[in-house]
């Protein structure tokens, strides 16, 4: 049965899975790089174990079985019974990928191909060594929730059952465990933790149910239980803590020495046998200190009454170890989005207020103006803060590419290492989501076409294993992502020859190296003699560039023959706000992205030439660029003959087109809240989005690429040589 609460639990569990898978892949990556240690294996083990635990609570049997199988081999590695051979690490990577698939399928309630589980399971069996069998783990996992044989007779008298294990002589740990609601919503179950504890030594588990209210007062999503666990043996406390590590943010765990609680129960405090539960499979453990017995139920002779709290021995108290919960909360992304929209409205309202106050012509220093300035600053800070909430590290995206690289390497029979740099850089979640496809394509390209075959690499004096590096860094208010390989670099002679053969460029075209590199972005170009199954250089790179451009990004290539290739993507940090120049055009107010504006000029101060009827060019710093009237471009008016009363905006687009746009006046440079035009209206050529101004009017945000595409030629000299029929509507990109 599925309820809203159930959906919440599941959603929370899968969010947790994302983090656990990230930790697992991190660890696997470290091991693959030879940087892993015992703690790394612990981390991987715990991640897999946690996923299994949560999956069990939701009845995701396939996930439980496979996780258990993997966990078993990890445990053997952890305990030193098997070695971390390269083959084993590769197997772990593949198992990690399949585990991710299982989580994805479970999240979508989709069926998953059991084939890989069987194949990987067989390999895990083989890897677990002669005295181990991961398949046993499968059956064990399947049996996790199967009835246990309960020896009630042995438990009729707890003291008798302890005859061979006198409490007074025990050493070990006393653990107090209290679960927060988040523990259950993330799919964890205390029983699984207690079972994990039992692998460290004999345990006795006792639940304190005294805080459980009658049903009418119970919130069934909250836990009112706490537990006292006694763990025998000399297992180090940090190992014990490890068991609870992955629930540290949703449970309270206190560990102290067992000697504190070593006194056997005082028979005089034990109620008559009729009032005592015959604890099943566990010793009776006292409730937590400070929890008074439920007098109401005791008054009725209720069998809920428990053994009295134990008396501490004379031993001096020792400090307990407590896991501190990290100061983070989970928030539904929709809530953040709603908050961002509201903050956008706040910024717009603030602009409206500013405009209204401005019409009052108040004196400088007026209290209203001062307070308004304070409000502006506050609104700006709130907006910045909210945007920061939406920003997420790029690391999960990079990790996802790790799998793409592994699969591409397997398909091309190459050895490839992924190097990640700057993965902590944060980018707007929306930008990240839309980067998945383009980045996947580029990473595949890097493996398939960028890196040479093993033989070729060795012959060139390079290591047989190639590397693909993903890096991210913030530069000038944007994030720059680079995909670089240490392959053979772009063979420009071959690229040029292919472009000529395909009629993309005339044979006599004069192209610089960067121009040739830019041919890779032309639609339909492929430098592969045969397009491979995996990818085709050029096939899709034009689409990649389109996607990046749609994100407000720019792409460039740098390549050196024999050394490698670097694709750079420069992206805005967010798609929610934009720094723009607000301008007047033919009575309309429009916004031009500030990133596109190179400079603003007074026409009277520069040389403008007229070439033919109605065609003007601006002469500036020994170059000529077309001049276009923004009002005429959108059909607001005829192009003005006299420009002296206007302003020129020199813009350069992401594809290096340059032109000067005529506007009537500059209003202000400010951050505007982007409102999607496609969502609210429809796409308009030359317009990327809209915003709401302080006076409540809608202002269109100019798409520089769209406007310049109609007036500015493709850049650089070779542009004149490019076959215009082939590059229609497109342009070249220079590095």
């Amino acid at each position: 049965m599925t309820t809203g609460g159930s959906d919440d639990f599941r959603a929370s569990f899968f969010e947790e899975c994302d983090e656990l898978l990230e930790a697992m892949h991190d660890g696997l990556g470290l091991m693959q790089d030879g940087a892993g240690d015992t703690e790394t294996v612990h981390v991987i083990f715990r991640a897999v174990h946690s996923i299994k635990g949560g999956a069990g609570a939701f009845g995701l049997d396939a996930l439980v079985s496979f996780a258990h199988q993997l966990e078993t081999v990890l445990e053997r590695l952890r305990s030193g019974r098997i070695e971390a051979t390269p083959d084993l690490l590769t197997l772990f990577q593949q198992c990690g990928d399949y585990l991710s698939d299982l989580v994805t399928a479970a999240r979508a309630d989709a069926a998953v191909d059991p084939g890989p589980a069987e194949a990987l399971g067989s390999r895990l069996n083989a890897a677990s060594g002669p005295d181990g069998d991961a398949s046993e783990a499968v059956s064990q996992a399947a049996d996790d929730f199967v009835p246990l044989a309960l020896d009630l007779d042995a438990l009729e008298d707890p003291q008798e059952s302890d005859a061979d294990d006198p409490l007074s002589s025990r050493i070990g740990h006393h653990i107090t465990f209290t679960a927060e609601p988040e523990l259950f919503s993330s799919g964890n179950e205390p029983a699984l933790l207690f079972r994990a504890l039992a692998t460290l030594g004999p345990t006795r588990v006792g639940a304190d149910i005294s805080d459980v209210p009658p049903l009418s007062l119970l919130d069934p999503t909250m836990s009112h239980l706490s537990w006292e666990i006694e763990l025998d043996g000399d297992c180090p406390a940090d190992i014990v803590l490890d068991v609870f590590d992955f629930v540290s943010d949703c449970a309270s765990v206190e560990i102290g020495p067992l000697e504190h609680f070593a006194a056997p129960p005082d028979p005089s405090t034990v109620p008559a046998s009729d009032d005592i539960d015959p604890a099943i499979g566990t010793d009776v453990v006292a409730p937590a200190e400070g929890r008074p017995p439920n007098s109401e139920t005791e008054g009725r002779g209720d069998d809920l009454a428990r053994v009295a709290p134990p008396k501490p021995t004379a031993a001096p108290p020792q400090p307990t170890t407590r896991i501190a919960a990290p100061q983070t909360i989970r928030v539904d992304f929709e809530r953040v989005d709603k908050l961002i929209n509201l903050v956008g409205e706040l910024v717009i309202k603030e602009a409206m207020l500013s405009q209204a106050v401005g019409m009052l012509t108040l004196n400088t220093g007026n209290e209203v103006l001062q307070e308004l300035d304070g409000l502006k600053q506050l609104a700006g800070e709130i907006q910045e803060g909210v945007m920061a909430i939406r920003a997420q590290p790029i690391k999960p995206l990079f990790q996802r590419m790790g799998r793409t690289i592994r699969e591409a390497a397997a398909m091309t029979n190459k050895r490839v290492r992924l190097v990640m740099k700057g993965e902590a850089a944060e980018v707007d979640k929306t930008v990240l989501e839309r980067l998945v496809d383009p980045l996947t394509h580029m990473v595949r390209n890097a493996v398939d076409h960028g890196l040479e075959d093993k033989e070729a690499r060795v012959a060139a004096g390079k290591p047989a294993e190639g590397s693909v590096t993903l890096s991210a860094a913030h530069r000038s208010g944007r994030v720059v992502i680079e995909i670089s390989d240490d392959g053979g670099g772009i063979n420009r002679d071959k690229v040029r020859r292919l472009a000529e053969e395909k009629g993309l460029i005339p044979p006599d075209a004069s192209l610089s190296p960067s121009d040739i590199d830019a041919l890779l972005f032309m639609p339909g170009f492929s430098s592969k003699d045969e397009v491979s199954e995996l990818s085709g250089r050029g096939v899709g790179l034009d689409v990649v560039r389109s996607e990046i451009t749609a994100l407000g990004g720019r792409m460039s290539i740098q390549s050196e023959l024999g050394v490698g290739t670097v694709f750079s993507i420069s992206l805005p940090l967010t798609l929610a706000v934009l720094e723009g120049m607000v301008v007047n055009v033919a009575g309309q107010t429009m916004v031009v992205p500030i990133t596109a504006i190179q400079e603003t000029l007074q026409p009277a101060s520069v040389r403008i030439h007229t070439i033919g009827p109605g065609t003007k060019v601006l002469s500036i710093r020994d170059t000529l660029m077309p001049v276009a009237d923004l009002g005429a471009h959108f059909g607001f008016r005829e192009p003005p003959e006299e420009l002296d009363d206007h302003v020129l905006l020199v813009i350069e687009t992401d594809t290096d087109r340059r032109c000067a746009l005529i506007v009537d006046a500059l209003q202000d440079q400010r951050q505007v809240v982007i409102k999607s035009l496609e969502t609210n209206y429809s796409q308009i050529d030359g317009i990327s989005a809209a915003t709401i101004l302080g006076d409540g009017r809608i202002a269109l945000i100019v798409d520089p690429e769209g406007v310049a595409g109609g007036v500015a030629p493709v850049p650089a000299t070779p542009a004149a040589s490019v076959n215009p029929d082939v590059v229609e509507g497109d342009s070249l990109v220079t590095a």
Binding site: M1, G59, F145, L150, E189, S216, S223, W227, D302
Partner: protein, 100 residues
Amino acid sequence: MSEGYNLEAHLDSAAAPVLAADLKALRGKSVRVDGGAVRFAGTLSLQVLIAARRQWLEDGQDFTVHPFSGALGAACCDLGLSLTDIGASPDDQNDMERTA
């Protein structure tokens, strides 16, 4: 005359609110809960049974879990709960084992 209620096979955390609502609807009558089909019982669902038993005690009505599966008993065992906490009787378990 007691009211009967059959526990679901999978009593995970998500099932707890449903179980609580179902049992609340049965207040005022003696209830016999059939736990024979339970394959998995999580903490929150067991807590509902504990709370229900406590409620029925307050109401002066009978609340029993009978029969119950080995999985249900094992779940109690794992969590350090006694069968009587949820309204079941260890004798049932013994009977079940003898007839198994």
